[in-house]
């Protein structure tokens, strides 16, 4: 399982790898020069000021001791200072290279990951989207990707850099003085270990804080969303009390976390300062007995100071890395779901012919949704489908559009005599205009929304479609007309208006088959009627499937099919069905107010 995650992780590093390698190389050089600077200073103190080349590497000492070079430097000590600055400049330049490369690598990596995730979600089957909670998927695509990004950009590279830093620092230290190096080295596992230990506990507390924040957030959000309910029931006091309670918990959790953090920081300071203390004392001890030069002593103090921070960081990163594993697994779950494959058959027949369902059965999960459904929708006619919630009426449309794939041995659906399993899926969807029960509008302008599938850019055509959907007047009444951006939670568009924009969007497609899955439920009956009239006028020779639980919507259809529990129980014209005992007449009576129970 672990392997799988790594595979997912590396799959996106293709374009990024060279940047990461360049970054690591540049950091190594930068770190080397960074640690060289104190060495130059220490060396200057020893050799130039103290005329003692004992602390220097042999070749350098030999070079300096010939031809009065040491004396020359002593007179021009500025040269040593320049050398130190030069080393620092080089360190800075490579540090810059490393940072930019990290950003480019991470940027490429995350872009690849995001693009892939987005593409994948677009191409996942319809049923996958039905089965998964949108909120959860969005969180995986955003928060978990950010965790991964963090891992790549800071954690992974900082670990590598810290390891490089330790290697280089210790190589330099050991070349100078072995016992002192050991004193400094001893503290490394202590610092890393204690940080790891603390961060384990701290992250647990962080989780509690996150949960408390989530609770508080939900409370505020529900309060704001339901403000009318709160007001109408006069529950401001009650809401405030609940809020105060959750706010108190949230505050308490954070303060408790703060206490742990305080101890962590305090102890961290003690450990890091102890390292300095040990270095100073051990150095002083050794220098006093002549086993250490002053310059080397100063260099070691610099090193001890610059190691503490990164090592503390390392401990923290190590303890946080486990989060990334969780995030990657959550991302992997999405990527592992099989996407819709390109259909091997690519027939693109004329779809104006009869639509025939022949003995179609369909299971969704372990639920039998359709049982041997057979009916014929004559080309160019309007067919109504009536059914209660859960009768399988929506499934009929999903199957027709190949949003659900009909398995081989479960009957056949043909359009104009061609089995839809042989028709190019995208061709099919483009030519069967389907309006979903809860259509989604994109946060673009109304114009762009109506023109989204057609891309004509032609306002007249868009308005024509809008007129057919009885929404042109409403749109023109907006201050910005067709440039009105569809806002969140219907702030600008009412439910009925949204539904009508979705209808206009489908009218734009001018498809030979149009399917309306309860698409007029948010409209009052007059608008419903108006739209159906214009549909009859504009549909031309299109085949229309109207799905509804409203008799008034269906009664004008040429042929009506009644579905119940996944089977066709009645079919006929309005008049024929009214004449029969059955669901159709029952429904009609309830809706026209003849149902006996409603009397009040």
């Amino acid at each position: 399982m672990k392997n799988g995650i790594f595979k997912t992780f590396f799959a996106f590093s293709k374009g990024a790898r060279r940047f990461f390698l360049a970054a690591i190389g540049a950091s190594a050089v930068s770190i080397f020069f960074k640690f060289l600077t104190p060495r130059i200073i220490g060396g200057t103190v020893d050799a130039v000021l103290g005329a003692d080349t004992g602390g220097l590497p042999a070749f350098l000492a030999a070079w300096l001791n010939t031809g009065g070079r040491l004396e020359y430097l002593a007179k021009h000590i500025g040269l040593c200072a320049l050398l130190a600055v030069a080393s620092a400049v080089l360190s800075g330049v490579f540090n810059f290279r490393s940072r930019v490369n990290i950003a480019k690598g991470t940027g490429k990596y995350v872009k690849a990951l995001r693009d892939r995730l987005f593409e994948h979600t677009q191409h996942l089957p319809f049923s996958w989207h039905t089965d998964h909670l949108t909120g959860d998927i969005i969180q995986r695509c955003t928060t978990d990707v950010e965790t991964t990004q963090n891992f790549v950009s800071t954690q992974l590279l900082e670990v590598i850099q810290t390891v490089l830093l330790l290697i280089i620092a210790f190589a330099l230290m050991f070349s100078m003085n072995v016992p002192m190096s050991i004193v400094v080295l001893l503290f490394i596992p202590i610092i890393a270990g204690y940080t790891c230990f603390f961060f384990g506990r701290i992250s647990r507390k962080f989780l509690e804080c996150d949960n408390a924040e989530g609770d508080l957030m939900v409370q505020v959000q529900e309060n704001l969303t339901g403000v009318r309910v709160v007001r109408a029931f006069g529950r401001e006091k009650h809401e405030q009390a609940q809020f105060d309670r959750k706010n108190e918990i949230y505050t308490g959790k954070w303060i408790s976390l703060g206490y742990t953090l305080g101890v962590y920081w305090g102890v961290g300071d003690i450990v890091c300062a102890s390292q300095l203390l040990a270095t100073v004392v051990a150095g002083a001890y050794m220098a006093a007995s002549g086993r250490l030069t002053l310059g080397v002593f100063i260099t070691f103090i610099s090193y001890a100071q610059s190691l503490g921070g990164p090592v503390r960081q390392l401990g923290r990163i190590l303890s946080e890395m486990s989060k990334t594993g969780v995030s990657l697994r959550r991302i992997k779950d999405i990527l592992d779901a099989p996407a819709e494959t390109a259909s091997p058959e690519e027939e693109t027949p004329d779809l104006r012919g009869d639509i025939v369902f022949d003995n179609v059965s369909f299971r969704y999960g372990d639920k039998q949704v359709l049982r041997g459904v057979s009916f014929t929708a004559k080309g160019g006619k309007t067919i109504g489908i009536l059914g209660r919630t859960g009768s399988g009426k929506s499934t009929v449309t999903y199957l027709l559009n190949r949003l659900y794939e009909l398995p081989e041995d479960c009957g056949t659906i043909t359009v104009g005599g061609v089995d839809i399993r042989k028709i190019d899926r995208y061709y099919l969807r483009r030519n069967i205009g389907l309006v979903l029960q809860e259509p989604f509008l994109f946060s673009k302008t109304v114009f762009e929304n109506i023109d989204i599938a057609t891309d004509t850019g032609d306002l007249e055509k868009v308005r024509q479609a809008a007129r057919a959907a009885a929404v042109d007047d409403s749109v023109m009444a907006f201050p910005k007309g067709y440039d009105t951006v569809v806002g969140e939670r219907g702030v600008t568009l009412s439910g009925g208006q949204k539904q009508r924009v979705a209808l206009a969007r489908t009218f734009m497609m001018g498809a030979p088959v149009m399917v309306f899955d309860d698409s007029m439920s948010n409209l009052d009956m007059k608008t419903d009627e108006q739209i159906r009239t214009s549909l009859r006028e504009n549909a031309g020779d299109a085949t229309v499937l109207l799905i509804s639980h409203r008799i008034s919507t269906l009664m004008t259809a040429d042929w009506i099919i009644v579905l119940d529990r996944g089977a066709v129980v009645q079919q006929g014209t309005h008049e024929q069905l009214l004449a029969q005992e059955g669901i159709y007449r029952q429904t009609y009576e309830i809706q026209s107010g003849k149902g006996g129970e409603t009397n009040g």
């Binding site: 200073i41 200057t44 080393s87 800075g92 987005f118 006069g234 003690i270 006093a288 002593f297 809706q591």
Partner: protein
């Protein structure tokens, strides 16, 4: 939500003064923080003095006498410093969280009082981030921002005092580097903030795109626009990539540049100090201490510049939060009314007059506060107690205006609305709302159980009362259909229930308090016939004996009404009984016939 153009100009003390009352109440923690911080900064700033002492006392003379005592003294300073860190960090988290808590509470409380017109103008997401993230940001700047600022300031002062004691000339030399570091950091930070904002914007575009891409995935499939979506998404991520690289270039220059300043400072010390050593004017210990200080002083200087920048950025958050708190509620009870009947947070129900439900619209003029024409002009209507008023009209005709006025979500611009003969502005809002049952078109439920949601209508209701109310409106069937019955969780916003089920539960919620006035915005959305029947039953039970206002979409409901108001284009165009309006053959008749489409022989009751 895109951030408004930030006034990145300068620190506004006037604005930050708003925070004083909050800090005042927790000043004892603040004082502990300040003291602990000074101790910590000062103790850390003397560390190099120990190096200096060690060099002069032990290394140069080559003796180890007294090194034990030295180590002990050093350790003592370390422990004092660490203890101070623990003390101040504990107290500063208290400062931070208490400030956040108070800010959040005030924000939330004020939002409870603001008028609905304010909610219409501001999205939930916008308000949510005011209450949650802005307040956090402000309090974090108050505690940690100020701590970092003062800590680093103390450190710099402590270090300079130490250095001056060691060698004045070298200390002044080092001082020159300070403004350079400060200016560099300042300039780059300002730019980084701008890029940072662009990155956040790009990020929220990405989140938005995912939101749309996933929420609208099904629709995208029916329209076959998957590729188009992907293309647009790739353009957003490409922009993100560019911004990320830009940021890295800026910060990639800044950090090495600051580090370089440190190296320049060290070299200065090495140069000037080294010459001093050779002349014998400076001892080795001083040189060693200065080399350490030269490196150690750079970070605090950079940090100060960064923190000041941070504080200025956080100013935007403060501006937005105070804007919420300063917003005047449009609808307010007068002081006299508050004195007698109490506020929403502290009602005095013992003084409330009982309500019968006789409502009179007396020459009411009304227009919405966000502009436009009058939607009610000199509107008069007498609604005796127990009367049902149905409001009908086309989608988007403005049917909710009257309901908003009855609920006092808005008040008449001119004229008055009287309840039992008294202008409702002479009573408190809580009084009205306590006597009002309200069912929305999109029934909004709160997360919690079904019972919790019904209890919302009457906080002290017993389980038996809850069940009785549920039974009255058939919501008992909803509970019966859920595992756990009345204790079944409805999920966030009631998501686990269908639209129809939510509506039934909201009926029970409205009924449990047995309100004399009832307001209903009938659902139009997709509800299957069976549930719809239950809802119609519920409505007929609910209306009985109550003054009701109904935005009606169903024939059966309209027929139950005593008075029907026909709304068109925001205005009431006809009013009367069903028979009167049918007889006049106007707008209502057209509407009714449309509703009735070809139900020719269906008899009216």
């Amino acid at each position: 939500m895109a951030e408004p153009n930030t006034s990145r100009s300068r620190l506004s003390l006037k604005l930050w003064k708003r925070i004083f009352p909050y800090i005042k109440s927790i000043r004892k923690y603040m004082i502990v923080v300040l003291v602990g911080m000074v101790v910590s900064a000062l103790s850390e700033s003397v560390y190099p003095m120990f190096t200096s002492y060690a060099v002069n006392r032990f290394v140069t003379p080559g003796t180890t006498a007294g090194i034990g005592l030295f180590a002990l003294a050093f350790l003592l300073v370390i422990v004092i410093g660490a203890a101070a860190v623990i003390v101040y960090s504990r107290n500063s988290i208290i400062v931070e969280m208490q400030t956040a808590k108070m800010l959040k509470r005030d924000c939330f409380r004020h939002l409870q009082e603001l008028s609905l017109s304010y909610y219409n103008a501001n999205s939930v997401g916008y308000l949510l981030s005011r209450v949650m993230s802005d307040t956090d940001r402000i309090s974090s700047v108050i505690s940690w921002g100020i701590i970092h600022l003062l800590w680093n300031l103390c450190y710099i002062i402590g270090a300079f005092v130490s250095m001056m004691l060691l060698n004045v000339k070298l200390a002044l030399l080092l001082l020159c580097i300070v403004p350079v570091v400060a200016v560099i950091t300042w300039v780059f930070q300002s730019r980084l903030i701008v890029v940072g904002r662009r990155i956040r914007e790009a990020n929220s575009r990405i989140v938005g795109a995912y939101n749309e891409g996933i929420t609208g995935a099904k629709t995208s499939k029916t329209l076959v626009i998957e590729e188009k979506n992907c293309e647009q998404f790739r353009a957003i991520t490409s922009d993100m990539y560019r911004q990320m690289v830009r940021r890295s270039v800026l910060s990639g220059i800044l950090i090495p540049l600051v580090l370089l300043c440190g190296s320049v400072a060290v070299s200065e010390v090495l140069y000037a100090g080294g010459r001093g050593v050779m002349r014998g004017a400076i001892d080795y210990g001083t040189l060693a201490a200065f080399i350490t200080y030269a490196v150690a002083i750079i970070d605090p200087v950079a940090e100060i510049a960064r923190v000041i920048n941070d504080i200025i950025t956080a100013q935007v958050c403060l501006e937005r939060v105070t804007a919420v708190i300063d917003e005047e509620p449009l609808i307010r009870d007068t002081p006299a009314v508050e004195a007698k009947y109490g506020t929403v947070f502290d009602p005095k129900p013992e003084n409330w007059e009982p309500i019968r439900g006789h409502i009179t619209f007396d020459h009411v003029w009304f227009k919405y506060p966000d502009g436009g024409d009058y939607v009610l002009e000199d509107f008069c209507l007498d609604v005796p107690a127990g009367t049902t008023v149905a409001i009908v009209g086309e989608t988007g005709a403005g049917k909710s205006t009257l309901v908003n006025l009855v609920c006092r979500f808005f008040e008449p611009t001119a004229g008055s609305i009287r309840i039992d003969g008294t202008d409702y502005r002479q009573r408190s809002q809580s009084w009205l709302h306590a006597n009002l049952g309200y069912v929305l078109q999109d029934a909004h439920l709160f997360s919690g159980s079904i019972a919790d949601n019904i209890r919302y209508g009457k906080l002290d209701a017993t389980p038996a009362q809850i069940e009785a109310a549920a039974k009255l409106v058939s919501a008992d069937r909803v509970a019966a259909g859920m595992p756990g019955g009345y204790d079944a969780q409805v999920g966030e916003g009631g998501d686990r229930l269908s639209t129809g089920e939510k509506q039934l539960v909201s009926f029970a919620r409205a009924m449990i308090a047995d309100p004399p006035i009832f307001v209903l915005d009938e659902a139009t959305s997709s509800i299957d016939t069976h549930t719809e029947l239950m809802i119609q039953n519920a409505i007929s039970r609910v209306l009985h004996g109550r003054t009701s206002f109904i935005i009606a979409h169903r024939l059966s409901t309209v027929r139950m009404a005593d008075v029907i108001l026909v709304v068109d284009d925001g205005k009431i165009v006809e009013q009367g009984t069903h028979d009167e309006l049918m007889a006049s053959g106007g707008r209502y008749r057209a509407l009714y016939e449309a509703m009735e489409i070809r139900e020719q022989e269906s008899p009216h009751r």
